[in-house]
Subunit: 387 residues, 2 copies
């Protein structure tokens, strides 16, 4: 069994860790030898995820192609799929992760909960004032393609601000999703996995904490009520069926006073699911590989009552190197440290710490203790909860 | 942090899985591209573990050298150590795993429980009848070096049989350890890890089942009484201190009517400790890497009340290929399958299945179910316990 992975980042690296146990050979399409996954894969090809020639060469030497990220040439993949290569998730499904306008249309056609939105394409004549009436001020403008981790998302206060953002994006040829600004009570994520034969499993719903658009921690069970958690999983299951998902998918959701709404989709193992490496019977990386190979999926239950997963980020300019704090981090009882093989840089995501146990506030505090030892800045929004 | 591993087998492969998470780079000294670990390591050098030039080249490009197996050039390693390279475990300690005569002398000097034994070296004039009087018939003859998994161990019924084995081994220049044949009630193993700074941790004691000298399953807690388990761990701790262990060590023990006795030592992650990948907070592979790098060790407690680990072996000539049964094996609820990337051959060890849970007899039965699905022959000695 040979799986080709497009992209050599940490998700590919963590897939490789699981591929070993299942006897799966990985062939990696990486950009450079410094990519995180390269050190743990023997068969590495170098090339761009946009290059049809590199994608074809990969598809021809593996049983199935899957992905570390979504910034890929969908047209080239579509052609490979038409010629009989197995590409999972399919380029048709990947579109909903790549293109926020397509994702919002999906919400409408499949009656999925979403904020009020208006789609704007370059060339459209936009009545900004009407937009404000429809969605209210401030409103959210998102580049339909190319953004991630908060980039490409703009909160604009008034017509002048909106006009500028829309003009800039249109000038770059990028469509815009204009949305009402949801009043966010909490953020959740739902993680599911589906294989071609239809088997579909969900991990327990996760509470996530974003600061400045970047995920800082993931908590289970968090403070999410069972009824809300069940709704989140139901939405994710509906999306998976609607798009013919193959592999793992994370649905990021907002909980608002009016209920939950879909924020974004990721059609691959996702930061919000890293806790599954140490806190679930089967990790998202193992189940992603099992799904794309159409093998039976592994159980998704938690192995302990509480799990915390805290992301490790580079400290400010002039900080100690990441490994200077490794001794202290490893001394934190039960800290499961996962590093991505990257050099430190301010607020660059370098790894994560998982911690499992009986006591939710203890595991959260200990996971942060290890992440802080590794140089992670502690945001004040979270400090008040763990001190 | 760069760790060099001498040998490219499954232990190196499973170390690499854990190295990734800790941000450790592995450089592998393998014999051939088909070695199990090669697929998951980028930096692979090819050469023999007996070749001083290959060992030196490896030592020169890493922070520490460690081992997948003990069939290594101890003299060359000793010289590298003298020149300031870090070799863990040290060649002096490795000797006790390589040479059964040295190990038995260690039992004597450190008052460790052992069967009665007599050491015989090529050139010695051996009085076979006196040997029989001292140790009783039948007695056990072991090649001091070169045996494993039951190979190099001979149970002889009488003087004529003993004479033949001793002559053959002497002719090959091999020393012999003659031992009384212990009356084995149960077999146990104790797994410990120690780092240069002295920190020493033990995993819970394990009950192992051997058939024809080959380990077929490992059970925790098994049927071992807490007092016996504590003795086993105490023996392992004593050995670790006595030899200045760095890394993981497994001590295989027999329980006899007179108490426990040391059977063999392995100075590396060991088959009896594979359960730690899924059933302990920290696996033996992660803690081995942490130890040889002198990093703080991870907690060794079990994460569930019961664990079973069953080895996967190739079926008889003409069996289906290993992966023919993968679908069925993955359907066994909770089965954690670990394959070594080897082609099937009768009774070749191809992987193992870990299963964790509340109910010891259920996890044992399910682990065997998955192993059998993968083609493992079920010995009648075990069948009666799981059906």
């Amino acid at each position: 069994m040979r799986v080709g992975i497009v992209g050599g980042g940490q998700l590919a690296r963590m897939m490789a860790e699981e591929a070993s146990a299942l006897g799966i050979e990985i062939v990696l399409l990486a950009e450079a030898e410094t990519d995180g996954a390269v050190a743990f894969v023997h068969e590495v090809r170098y090339g761009s995820a946009h290059d049809p020639v590199a994608l074809r060469a990969l598809a021809e030497e593996v049983d199935v192609v899957t992905f570390d990220h979504e910034l890929v040439n969908l047209e080239a993949l579509h052609e490979l799929e038409n010629q009989g290569h197995r590409i999972f998730p399919s380029p048709e499904a990947l579109l909903f992760a790549v293109d926020k306008a397509a994702m919002r249309r999906l919400c409408t056609t499949h009656d999925l909960p979403a904020p009020a939105f208006v789609l704007l394409s370059p060339g459209d004549v936009v009545d900004i004032n009407e937009l404000g009436v429809t969605l209210g001020w401030p409103l959210v403008l998102k580049a339909a393609r190319g953004g991630y981790d908060g980039r490409g998302v703009f909160i604009v206060e008034d017509a002048a601000g909106a006009d500028q953002v829309i003009k800039d994006l249109f000038a770059a040829g990028i469509s815009v999703v204009a949305e009402e600004r949801a009043s966010i009570l909490r953020e959740l994520a739902a993680l599911v996995v589906r294989r071609p034969s239809g088997e579909l499993l969900a991990w327990p719903a996760m509470e996530t904490a974003q600061v400045d658009g970047v995920c800082r921690e993931v908590l289970l069970p968090g403070t999410v009520e069972p009824a809300i958690a069940a709704q989140a999983l139901e939405v994710a299951r509906s999306v998976a069926e609607a798009i013919g998902l193959v592999g793992v998918m994370a649905v990021e959701l907002f909980e608002t006073p009016e209920g939950i709404v879909v924020n974004e989709l990721a059609l691959r193992p996702h930061n919000s699911g890293h806790w599954t490496q140490d806190g679930a019977i089967t990790s998202q990386f193992a189940n992603h590989l099992r799904a794309v190979l159409d093998l039976p999926l592994g159980r998704t239950e938690m192995t302990t009552p509480a799990v915390a997963s805290v992301n490790v980020f580079g400290g400010p300019e002039g900080s100690e190197p990441l490994l200077a704090g490794l001794n202290d981090a490893l001394r934190v009882p039960g800290a499961q440290i996962h590093l991505y093989g990257k050099a430190t840089r301010p607020m660059r995501k370098l790894g994560h710490v998982n911690l499992t146990g009986e006591d939710a506030s203890l595991v959260r505090r200990l996971a942060w203790e290890a992440a802080i030892a590794l140089g992670t800045p502690l945001p004040s929004e979270i400090e008040e909860h763990i001190r």
